[in-house]
């Protein structure tokens, strides 16, 4: 049997369109990304680890990944509640509310950044109130988490919402006719079915949060060791013309977040086998 790269078709333009696609993909995406790998190998094994194990860099990793996980967790809880509201409860003007959910996607990050900073600053609208009950948000790690909740907010809602819409109500009917209470139906029937989209939404929100820059830097305060996120540290290194250092940190950030996402996906396929009864 001879190797055939492509099945025959009467449609024209395959060579041209595929050739253009590959050329453009190579020049705009693959070539620049390969620079990342080559540059970080310049440091050598020892240099690479000396750079990323520097206390200031480690502190930024801890902050970035910690705040991203916390923000994604908050979005799981509230995002599921908002999705439930959008699908299951009658309310006037729901179409507008539904459209508004995408605002964090549509609003340029610099704009959300200054808006959140203004809102939560010690003399901002919410800042004054929170200060009075002893909570300081602006220029703290809490502030960074708040910004990451904002930008990750649509992910959980937009993955849970369609799953909830398509959920077969007859499963719930069956559960209740077999004598399950509403709480039992929720925890034994509905939530297990919603788990896969919830985990997907969590992963997307987390991945977005790890790399986020614009909406965070204004509210963060950017103090080294305390409120300096990894993205900002990369820029600082670049401004000092330390290209190799910046690249090493970027590669480490990429590797850690890919590993975490892989772990979450593994957990999801494992729980798919073991938790659904």
């Amino acid at each position: 049997m001879s190797f055939r790269f492509k099945e025959s078709s009467v449609l024209p333009g395959f060579g041209l369109s595929l050739g253009y696609t590959l050329l453009y993909l190579g020049l705009i995406v693959l070539l620049p990304l390969s620079a990342l790998v080559v540059k970080s190998s310049e440091l050598g094994f020892g240099g690479f680890f000396r750079t990323i194990l520097d206390p200031r860099v480690l502190a930024s990793f801890k902050l970035t990944f910690g705040a991203s996980l916390a923000a994604a967790a908050v979005n799981v809880v509230f995002g599921t509640i908002v999705a439930w509201f959008l699908v299951r409860i009658r309310f006037p003007g729901k179409r507008v509310i539904d459209a508004i959910v995408d605002l964090p996607f549509a609003l340029p990050t610099a704009v959300s950044g200054i808006a959140l900073a203004m809102l939560y600053s010690p003399n901002g609208k919410l800042g004054i109130f929170l200060q009075s009950i002893g909570i300081k948000v602006a220029f703290t790690q809490l502030g960074i988490t708040v910004a990451l909740i904002f930008i990750g907010l649509p992910f959980v809602i937009r993955t849970v919402q369609p799953a909830l819409e398509e959920m077969d109500r007859e499963l719930e009917e069956a559960a209740s006719s077999l004598g399950a209470s509403r709480t039992q139906t929720l925890t034994k029937v509905i939530l297990p079915l919603l788990m896969p989209p919830i985990i997907t939404g969590f992963t997307l929100a987390f991945a977005r949060a790890v790399g986020e820059y614009g909406s965070v830097i204004f509210i963060a305060g950017n103090m080294p060791m305390k409120t300096e996120i990894t993205s900002l540290l990369i820029i600082t290194k670049l401004e000092q013309y330390d290209y190799a250092g910046a690249t090493a940190i970027a590669v480490a950030m990429l590797v850690v977040s890919l590993a975490l996402i892989l772990l979450i996906n593994l957990f999801q396929s494992w729980s798919g086998k073991h938790l659904v009864r």
Partner: protein, 282 residues
């Protein structure tokens, strides 16, 4: 009509939680959205107009703000069409033909979404920066890419790269090739088939991709921030101008420029809703 507020959408008895639970869910959901989405939007508009309409107008018609607006429009006017042509070519090749290695290419097209904004800028600095691969050669020939407009355009093309392609590929795969084959067998040329058969079939998906691509192109901050150099009146786009003004404590002007971008976001959401509605209802 109003009597139904807070009731569950499905009326079958025995299925739904009591009204009080619905009420609690509604309060939590709306409270969360209000705190995290509505309030930031309100604060942008309130701060922008806090010193009066004339100062707002003066802020957005100021020389540097206007040049930032021009640059933002220029960048979008290059990045969106370039990615549009790519999106059409990629979806034609990947959706209308069967060949080996297709899913790998689709994964590679999505790569820019997995790379954080700052790193998206960084890779172009590594290529074209003064100490980058091509830096010395570019300097010799007096070509500037980083800290200049070409770098901003490239970084923007990178971050908006997948939008149109990933919208069109699934749509065109689903539609198959029957209609195109019919047109070709009736004697239409390849180009005629594409223009008269394929394009009308994908127009709403295409619109959707263009709207999202444009919003990101005009609003991108992190990637552009790395390659721009923040030269006032020259390499500042609108989002960068917002940052510069805010860091100078010129809050009224910063929020005035930000209100333009917030307006863009609202227009984007409205257009997006219209296109979604059109796709659903034909």
């Amino acid at each position: 009509m109003f009597i139904n507020i807070l009731k569950s959408t499905d009326k079958r008895p025995g299925l739904n939680p009591p009204l009080i639970v619905n009420m609690a869910i509604t309060v939590i959901a709306l409270g969360f959205l209000f705190m995290f989405v509505i309030m930031p939007l309100i604060i942008v508009l309130k701060e922008a107009f806090s010193a009066g309409l004339s100062l707002w107008w003066a802020s957005i018609t100021e020389k540097d703000a206007l040049s930032a607006l021009r640059l933002t429009l220029l960048v979008a006017a290059i990045a969106v069409p370039v990615n549009l042509v790519f999106g059409l070519a990629a979806s034609w090749a990947l959706a209308k033909f069967r060949f080996k290695g297709k899913s790998l290419i689709i994964t590679l097209i999505d790569l820019p979404f997995a790379v954080s904004p700052v790193v998206s800028g960084l890779i172009y600095v590594l290529l074209f920066g003064l100490h980058g691969w091509l830096g010395p050669w570019l300097a010799q020939h007096d070509i500037q890419i980083i800290f200049a407009v070409p770098g901003i355009v490239l970084a923007t093309i990178f971050v908006t790269f997948p939008f149109i392609a990933r919208e069109l590929i699934p749509l065109m795969s689903e539609q198959g090739t029957d209609e195109e084959q019919a047109a070709l067998s009736l004697g239409a040329s390849g180009w005629q088939t594409f223009r008269r058969v394929t394009l009308p079939n994908i127009k709403w998906g295409l619109m959707y991709g263009i709207i999202l691509c444009n919003a990101r192109a005009m609003g991108e901050f992190g990637a552009v921030s790395v390659v721009s150099g923040h030269i006032r009146g020259e390499t500042n786009t609108l989002p960068l101008q917002v940052e510069v003004l805010y860091n100078e404590y010129n809050f009224v002007a910063a929020f005035a420029v930000a209100s333009l971008l917030a307006g863009l976001a609202l227009v984007t959401l409205v257009l997006k809703s219209i296109v979604e509605w059109k796709t659903k209802h034909g």
